[in-house]
Amino acid sequence: MKQVYMDNAATTKMKKEVLDEMMPYFTEQYGNPSSIYRVGRESKKAVEEAREKVAKALGAKAKEIYFTSGGTESDNWAVKGVAYANKDKGNHIITTVIEHHAVLHTCKYLEKQGFEVTYLGVDEHGLIDLTELEKAIKDETILISIMYANNEIGTVQPIAEIGKIAKAKGVYFHTDAVQAVGSVEIDLENSDIDMLSLSGHKIYGPKGIGALYIKQGTKIHPFIHGGSQEKNRRAGTENIAYMVGLGKAIEMATADIDGHNKEIMALRDGLIQRINDKIDYVKLNGHPEKRLPGNVNFSFEFIEGEALLLSLDMVGIAGSSGSACTSGSLDPSHVLLAIGLPHEIAHGSLRLSIGDFNSEEELDYVVDNLAEIVQRLRNMSPLYEK
């Protein structure tokens, strides 16, 4: 059967070039980078070259890049690390209701540990209100953590403006850029971002590697204590192969963002167009313009997401309803509820996220099948034609 993978926001297929660069570190280049003998020194060199690549892709200094086990760890580190290191200054954190669970659940945890968290709401397109942000800052505020781009609806926040506000108030600013890297030009040197999280597997790199950018001078505790790896800030024997993979992946992902986006957006806009044309009672979620180039998120009234996903899977189409992480849960996406969708409409949502391996001709297959499936499920629904 035809297989169409349209869940590139959940994870991507690794690029061959990335795997090729990693391979030596699975075989002969196995030395521990902390060791002084040859095979160790070569590993060390590979790690530092990878770090340079990540830094270069983001306009940062190599020494500001710390490798982690993924976007989730990066988020945990940034939020908890700043919270504990600055608790003498204050105990207040500002974030949004539409963050990834890696930030949200970390904040919930910190609330139990005595921190206070303000969760900013968003408008119908998923954008925060800058005035509200400014008002939320108080003397005790030590951290603002707001995602660069949302993983479900693709909305891109006004990061530069948020940074300016944070800087003016002397509050640290962390942004979860897991979904943004490769889709948005990022120049950290000329930004007011103090910390930025990214992840390898969203940009055709391996799963289980990420990085945290920490601007020089930022007061933050280590999160994982132990050996002196990563300049004493992130312990644990280095995952050299994945670091090399992340370096290559981010280099490729940022080589020509504009050109790349143009292609992906052409596919995206075509898909949105066709769905709008072919299926009624649908609603595009997220911002009409300020959205990730590959993100398509629709609500289909009267039907439920899981049934839709299962049906798509049966014709070889991989999509998602909300975030992959919530698929074990019964609740509709917290993001879709936050932009004001009623429960039953949030429930009937589908995210199709386009990636580098998708083609124009796959779109017809998707739309044809989608139209048929939606109709079939609606025919079964007690809400339809009511």
Partner: protein, 145 residues
Amino acid sequence: MYTEKVMDHFTNPRNVGEIPDADGIGEVGNAKCGDIMKMYLKIEDGVVVDVKFKTFGCGSAIASSSMATEMIKGKTIKEVLALTNKAVAEALDGLPPVKMHCSVLAEQAVKSALLDYSKRSGVAIPELEGFEPDEDVHDHEEHEE
């Protein structure tokens, strides 16, 4: 994730639709997930001669509805009353733990329809006394764990 039986009933659900002149109609919603199931019964001489359903819900909700309709078709009211969600789930070769409540929805939809029949027809069904499908049926609150 799902058994073949579930996928079969999900893909080719039996008895989808409505019965315009139904003798009993039950509609229940699940507070946990906000899904809704509607069950139509045609009853003659205490026997379910026809049954149809409509479901707004997940794969296992649809499969459970379908399976439940198959299990009660042609059965007496007494027999139908004996239908438990566990029996539905077993007939589907099992459901994931987090999806067991979907089969509860099916059991409740059937019972609701019988209750409606009882009310409309005046045929007492003592076993249903006190039966109330989950009270906060339309409570669509989100509940962050």
